[in-house]
Amino acid sequence: MKAFLRDLRILWRGDASGDRVVPPSGYTVRLTIFSAAAMGFLAVMALALALSAGRLADDWGGALARSATLRIDGPLDTMQERTEAALRVLEQTPGVASAQALTEEEQRALLEPWFGPDLQLESLPIPQLIEIEKTPEGFDAEGLRLRLEGEVPGAMLDDHESWRKPFLAAARALRWLGWGAMVLIGATMAAIVTLAASVSLAANAQVISVLRLIGARDDYIARAFIRRFTFRTLTGAAVGTGLGLIASALLPDAPMSFLTGIGFANLDWLVPFAIPPLAALVAFAATRRAAFRTLRGLS
């Protein structure tokens, strides 16, 4: 355990002498840390948006898409018979997981907003509703419609397509927006870190020429820069992600069936923790490229 910690510390501190030869260049430090933090924060926000929109799309694309409603109209006395006929048809239809006629209570609850709680359903010629759940594969709505037309008069199939679609499109647009912003933020961070590293290398052209003069190898020089920028980015991104998580926990919650609230739900909370290491990785790669390119350029 002690040896492990020591090794970790050496990795963190790296080669102390190598770190000392690169000056503690004030502005590029702040530039890197700040932009990593800002990008981390924005990434958390975008991630929250993308994941919430994803959940939304799942709900509308999933739960709603896997259900349908069958309405049976007709005179009161034929209702029982028609309902049974419809249920039989549905039983035989591939892709229907279950079909259930709504009970009187359920129908009354649905109608309550319009009729009030005292409605006597038995005396009314209101249609019977059947809730259908699809299997994951779904059924052939057109075929079912044709068959019902022939066998069950007054049956109307509503597979929620028409009013589900725009919701779904909106959720998917939001999700796109979220992930698009994520990608853009990642690219921005990579670019800013690359540029900050390049600026730092360019500003340290004298340091590099001094080190070469005394016979330092290029990777000795490059390592000092790479290590520094990687850790700066990690630090900045961690701070930004932390602030982002706090902010997204503070976001007003709107727990609704169709808008599950913006923010992270359940295990989603773990996803943002990938941001700092990813940012550090991006910084590592970006600085490495910048360092070796600059070193070759200064030859």
Binding site: S17, V21, V207, S209, L211, L213, G215, R217, D218
Partner: protein
């Protein structure tokens, strides 16, 4: 074996040829002065000896290795065996003078404490003991040159290439620096000093066996005894 050899070398910065047909062989223990008017190509020649510039034609060998065939790491290794005092010396401004002078030790991975006595002696010789804790921007012009010379010799290199090392120091100090170079030369190191200071060259001649080279008309020649 020769430490540095230039064989029929020419150099051009893009315009006309600056140097042509230059042949120079630095053997261990040799002491050369390089003279010539300003802009003749003294610094250019030194940079070729250091592997910083690659000749337009001809061949350069550092410690028996041909230059264009060397890897970057091999070149870095060769440079650690050459102490260069640039005309316009640069330092790491965030480190102290003492740290800058011992930087070659750091980069070569040598134990600093073992070399402490060495460093102190060197600081005293170039008269920078009282400025050891200053940073390079706080040095005077002459102090910078002396620090650059100290940095060039701390690794005890096989060759010392010095470009106008006494351009900014007074007569007494330049005599002191000359004695340091002569001392190192007596230890078997090869020394090449570019300088336009004729008085310095005359003084050197009284102390050791010195050859004076002169660049004139793009060619490298041995200067006559009139110097």
């Amino acid at each position: 074996m020769l430490v540095i050899a230039l064989d029929n070398v020419a150099y051009s910065y893009g315009g006309g040829e600056l140097l042509a047909g230059v042949t120079l062989e630095l053997a261990p223990g040799s002491f050369h002065f390089l003279t010539g008017p300003s802009g003749a190509g003294k610094t250019t020649l030194l940079k070729m000896c250091f592997g910083e510039l690659v000749p337009t034609s001809g061949r350069v060998e550092l410690f028996g290795q041909r230059l264009p065939g060397m890897t970057r790491d091999a070149l870095a290794g060769a440079r650690r065996r050459i102490g260069l005092v640039p005309q316009d010396a640069r330092f790491l401004d965030h480190l102290t003078v003492a740290e800058n002078i011992s930087l070659p030790l750091t980069v070569a991975g040598q134990d600093m404490r073992a070399q402490k006595a060495n460093l102190d002696e060197l600081l005293a010789w170039v008269g920078l003991t009282h400025r050891a804790k200053a940073t390079p921007p706080e040095l005077s012009g002459g102090e910078r040159q002396r620090a650059a010379l100290a940095r060039a010799v701390i690794l005890s290199p096989d060759v010392i290439l010095a470009d106008e090392p006494t351009g900014n120091v007074d007569w007494e100090m330049s005599q002191r620096l000359l004695r340091l170079l002569v001392e190192l030369n007596r230890m078997g190191k090869s020394v090449l000093v570019a300088s336009h200071d004729l008085a310095l060259i005359r003084a050197a001649k009284t102390q050791t066996q010195v050859r004076v080279l002169r660049i004139s008309n793009r060619r490298l020649q041995f200067a006559g005894a009139d110097l």
